[in-house]
Subunit: 430 residues, 2 copies
């Protein structure tokens, strides 16, 4: 029997939920034409209806009973917009059990519970879509699964957290320190209190976990993602990087190598002429290297009610089309490989290293000798007189296995005239 | 009955065809897992088997008989990689008539004959895919049709021709003139002889025609696309633009306005801090503005055997998935609207205008008076002494209807001390 409409239930009416409803309300007629039948929000469940929202709902659309939404036999698609992994996980599992297709933008949920969710969705031939979980409104997951399906993806580098990109952009442009810029960002509502999830890289780790799983067709465990936040970036490091031709970004990186899959989040220096270098403020971008396609990049607003709502509605429409064509489960879970993880010590990249040394003859030579003995080859060096008898030396290495750099630094910090290794930062995208 | 494989026939074994075959050969096992069954190139038709190719085919795969490929009942999907609109059109029509799904990267074919091709494909519930026709390997058409399907697209601005972007990048970096850089590009194989299709904007016009049709759900006729090439860009204009904070790009633009759809290709000055400004050399990028998603950009290599082959294979895989799920025709032709075109005189944008004038008091005032009378408001002005008694004046206007600029320029060129209006260029993306 031909379907007369597709009915949607929404769980959680916060920022993302309201954005999705707003897109659907504004574009209802356009979406009807694009899908073939109307797409209708039948019920919206939230526990707090007292907060003001940017969009209006009819009284019969509102409920406090999420379970009733999941149980409603008329509802085809459930949008999860609650966030977190407690209630959200239980409700998504229950929705799938009840035969509902699910759309979510919950990165933590997919990164932590993806395996059980996809297993259930696949078993029941249901669509489970999550485009909004990475890069807000930027189309990236579906292009990876579909448009680039003929290609072997070798590497992904993403600026996938707007808060940290805003902070690093401010630090770079204004030469200011991390703590000061963070406080300002919190006052302006660009950073949360506490800011841990963003500034310590947890948010980015969830996202690269999802990207790597799709790109390399292997399940990446969130606990296996190497993670460093931006709190140790200083104005001085960023200034040196600028002199050497680099800009600071918190990159989420995933690479598929002969030695295993390498997935990590850390502050990174990127050459100024790399496409990621121009991605500033709260913008996000995902840079993908494929063996056929070469380099492609996807850029846009990585968060916010309307952009993420756009991604959610894109998923709803694709699910609706699949329902109408009896083709749900068309692109099932793509994690059909079991690739080993490569530990951080085994990665190979370039490194920026800054040392504070006694300003005496021969120090540079002693340090260079250690690098030489450890097989670390240097491509750039910058020496600057400091206060009194202190000088600073900055190096950038050629491609080097990380364990060689770590071993060098351990030896160097024990040298007599070396006061401190002030910082070291990976350099990517050369 | 479960399908054991998906069989593909390829028409034309040139650059794109070889790229597609190479992707499939290299990634056969990966593609089998992603699709569920093997995807096999059964036959390849070409009229000239004497040319050397980068990939090997088995003798039984080769044929000179395109019709036999189309008639082969075992073949599910036909890839058209012949180019042009004569034989290619006839063969694609015939393939659809024979019930074959079609994948092509032929922009001219889709721009000129899209209507009849889609009409036939839709009638027979066949997939007709053409991701590679715009932006080479960059996923852009499928994201527009699927990921952004919940959004109303307002505007698209694309750098969609690598040859002209290469030429303009060279002119900008090296301060050289068009003719000289073009000749060098031809010698290096970056530009064809004759270069007309690229440098006069025909290639970009086909692409924006396709993009606009998808984004705005209305058929755009290629003859309605306003088109100017880059041959009138001078090193002097590019230098002035740089002083004023702009860079020269050949932009393909489409906007959906209350006053009609506006589709055009012309040299454009783009602010240096716009994401498109950083897209250099042969790279392409498509910048999309949606009412929900805000600004997104898709970047990568817009041409070449491997990138375009990647797009073709992505389409083949999506078609294969649809075949296996009985869901072909899942996203049919999306041109369900009939929107009027807005003529170029009615567009509204900003303008760079360069005049050569007699270096006398009062000239600037006289010209400014004309602009004022015609309602053209100015935002930037630059006056430079020239040789002898000649000076140059450069303006950038605020947003102005184009007919007002044209009327002003007609009056200005008749003023006594105005020697010539040397150039005027639209400014977008501010």
């Amino acid at each position: 029997m031909a379907r007369e409409s597709i009915k949607v239930g929404l769980l959680g009416f916060g920022t993302v939920g309201a954005g999705a409803v707003q897109s659907l309300q504004e574009n209802a007629e356009l979406i009807r034409k694009r899908v073939g039948v109307p797409v209708i929000i039948k019920s919206v469940a939230d526990i707090d209806w007292s907060r003001p929202r940017s969009v209006e709902l009819a009284p019969e659309q509102r409920t406090e009973d999420a379970q009733a939404v999941i149980n409603d036999p008329e509802i085809d698609i459930v949008i999860e917009a609650i966030g977190g992994v407690g209630v959200a996980r239980d409700l998504v599992m229950a929705a799938l059990e009840h035969g509902k297709h699910v759309v979510t933008s919950n990165k933590e949920l997919i990164a932590k519970h993806g395996e059980e969710l996809f297993e259930l969705a696949d078993r029941k031939s249901l669509d489970l879509s999550f485009e909004g979980s990475v890069g807000g409104g930027i189309p990236i997951l579906r292009p990876l699964k579909e448009s680039l399906a003929g290609d072997r993806i070798r590497r992904i580098m993403g600026i996938v957290n707007g808060t940290t990109n805003y902070i690093l952009t401010k630090m770079t442009r204004e030469g200011r320190e991390y703590a000061e810029v963070l406080e300002e960002a919190q006052q302006r509502g660009y950073a949360e209190k506490p800011p841990t999830s963003d500034v310590e890289g947890h948010d980015a780790a969830y996202k690269i976990c999802i990207l790597a799983s799709i790109a390399f067709n292997t399940r990446v465990n969130i606990d296996d993602v190497y993670r460093e936040g931006i709190s140790r970036m200083s104005a001085q490091d960023i200034a040196y990087a600028g002199q050497l031709g680099y800009v600071a970004k918190l990159l989420a990186i995933a690479a598929d190598t002969s030695d295993g899959v390498d997935v990590r989040v850390h502050p990174t220096f990127v050459p100024l002429d790399h496409p990621l270098a121009a991605v500033s403020d709260v913008f996000n971008a995902v840079f993908v290297e494929g063996s056929s396609v070469g380099e492609v990049m996807f850029y846009g607003r990585g968060a916010g009610s309307r952009p993420t709502g756009s991604a959610v509605m894109g998923d709803v429409i694709e699910t609706a089309r699949n329902i109408l064509h009896g083709a749900t489960g068309r692109v099932a879970c793509t994690c059909f490989e079991r690739k080993p993880l490569r530990p951080i010590e085994r990665i190979e990249t370039r490194y920026y290293i800054r040392c504070e040394v006694g300003d005496k003859p021969g120090v540079l030579a002693k340090i260079a000798a250690v690098f030489g003995e450890e097989g670390v080859s240097l491509s750039q060096v910058l020496q600057q007189a400091g206060r009194g008898d202190i000088a600073e030396i900055v190096w950038v290495t050629h491609m080097t296995p990380e364990h060689q750099v770590r071993e060098s630094l351990e030896r160097i910090q024990r040298l007599d005239d070396v006061r401190a290794i002030k910082n070291w930062v990976r350099v990517e995208g050369g």
